[in-house]
Point group: C2
Chain length 331, copies 2
């Protein structure tokens, strides 16, 4: 097989984040489930935004964040996701292209606005998210660039794609094309509520369609409906080639066949905002993986990338993450 043009092709909901600092009392008054991602319509999103504090806007989206961090690390990446040709859509396209990422999914000329996610960050660095899917629901199988998928070592898909109906079909199209081309498929479970909405589909996907699974502890427990992490590890064994399971300050555990490798978390001085921690972990891991590092090294690189992102506001590092990676791998 020729050397692929891309290390990773990501597909996900193309979202602009609206980040604001808040407190627990606000979440309670608004009846919001802390730490969760809730899907809302435009009016619900506006109602909470109107009551929230001053915000800043930056590109987001789970798989898009992963691709952005990988690009910062120096990987060759592509992204597919649907925006509208509006102010937020232009921001999204600019931000991802300016990192050198190949992004040419056609923007919708009409219909709903570019997706946005109101990210409410509490003083304990937890984030509670309200997502208006907007234009991202129009990502269709025809938007999947099969040439790019075939030319990417790994196709990376986010579980959130399972929420919009058309995007789910796009997901299936991309995963099948990648496998047919002899490439690998990675899936992030996105969040425990997303897992709960699509459990049967996700279990089916992992059985034979996915090579690399990313999940945090809550997600993998939800997937297998167990209460105990070790029980979840037993369940995932043999169902996909590699499962990389993140456990916040407890680090991560990589399951591959019968091998279980635990790697400690990278220390962080002060956790500011956990938005994008899982996305960054997947980026660091896949960066190592596509450079043929062993799984323990991949897990360590995932942890270093996550540590960079949670020490700042927002899901995409402002810092020189490549330099940080080089430095910390030396320790």
């Amino acid at each position: 097989m020729t050397n692929p043009r891309f290390d990773v092709a990501g597909i996900g909901n193309a979202i602009v984040d609206v980040l604001t600092q808040t407190d627990d009392a606000f979440l309670e008054r608004e009846g919001l489930a802390k730490g969760a991602m809730t899907l809302v319509d435009e009016a619900q999103a506006a109602a909470v935004y109107d009551k929230a504090g001053p915000a800043m806007e930056c590109s987001g989206g789970s798989a898009a964040n992963t691709i952005a961090v990988m690009a910062r690390l120096g990987a060759k990446c592509a992204f597919m996701g649907k925006v509208k040709d509006d102010a937020f859509g232009r921001i999204f396209g600019h931000d991802i292209r300016s990192l050198g990422v190949h992004f040419d999914t056609a923007a919708a000329a009409d219909g709903p606005a570019t997706a946005n996610c109101l990210v409410l960050v509490t003083p304990d660095a937890q984030r509670t998210m309200l997502t208006y899917l907007g234009a991202s629901i129009h990502l269709k199988p025809a938007d999947v660039d099969l040439g790019v998928i075939k030319d990417a070592r790994v196709t990376y898909l986010e579980g959130y794609l399972w929420d919009p109906e058309d995007a789910k079909q796009a997901f299936r199209t991309a995963a099948a094309a990648a496998r047919d081309a002899g490439r690998e498929v990675a899936l992030s479970l996105s969040d425990p509520f997303c897992v709960d909405r699509h459990r049967a589909d996700f279990l089916d996907l992992i059985e034979g369609h996915v090579d690399i699974l990313f999940a945090n502890e809550a997600e993998i427990l939800s997937l297998y409906q167990v209460d105990d992490f070790d029980a979840a590890v037993d369940k995932v064994k043999g169902h996909c080639k590699i499962a990389a399971l993140t456990r916040s300050e407890k680090g991560s555990v990589v399951v591959s066949g019968d091998n279980v490798t635990a790697v400690a978390a990278t220390p962080v001085d002060k956790v500011i905002d956990t938005t994008g921690a899982g996305d960054a972990y997947a980026a660091g891991f896949l960066y190592g993986y596509t450079r043929d590092e062993d799984l323990a090294a991949c897990a360590r690189m995932g942890g270093i990338a996550a540590a960079e992102v949670i020490a700042q506001i927002g899901a995409r590092p402002e810092t020189d993450i490549k330099a940080a990676m080089t430095l910390k791998l030396r320790d």
Copy 2:
């Protein structure tokens, strides 16, 4: 006179900032004057944005930043400025209102987009700005809420209002209404190039129309076309009630009649981004002033507010500036 409803009413260009990190080589390639604010049209702004790195968006505008910081400190404030009813216009309105600021300038239904400013931050924390004035050029005298001006202890105007023709007339209307009501008028000179564009008008304004003048060293040197700070101090004496002159790490100097008070700068661990330093100084100063603090205390409060803002990215503090002010005033 009854107790005014507002401590300060600000009038300025209503702008959303697009912040991105860059380097000196980029500025050179684009032929941009480092540290300056350059007015550009939509196409010029887009051409540079397309080549710039990933960005984040947040509300800006010089006087609006001052009002936002004052509101964070606990002052009662109003703001007037023109946006369009578009995505950036809604962001601007949300951010300022969510701080408790009275803002009800009617948004333009059509015409140019909400103003934006591409802020290019270099590793030395300096910012170079490209401003597309957009809808802000349509701020007219009729947009000045005379009831608010009469009910504000100080009306605060930015020099940048002198760039759009209609806004200049709005400036004159507001300043006259404030003086007629027995209130005070404050002016920020904005930047040395703005001073150069409007020197004669600014000299005339300071002579009898302005009570409190804010300027940094480069601006006051430009205003009086002198090379020496002490010469500028001599020139400004007696031309307005108070001149608060900022000198970056050298602190600030307040001139009032024949009295000249120098106050040291507040130490900062690491300067990240100087965007909004002058705006924040004016906020801290006016916060003290409208609480009847003496001029040395006002200057100190200005310095503390500026120190908070330059230790982070963007012109509006994410930190609890009120707590920082209380803490540092104790030192």
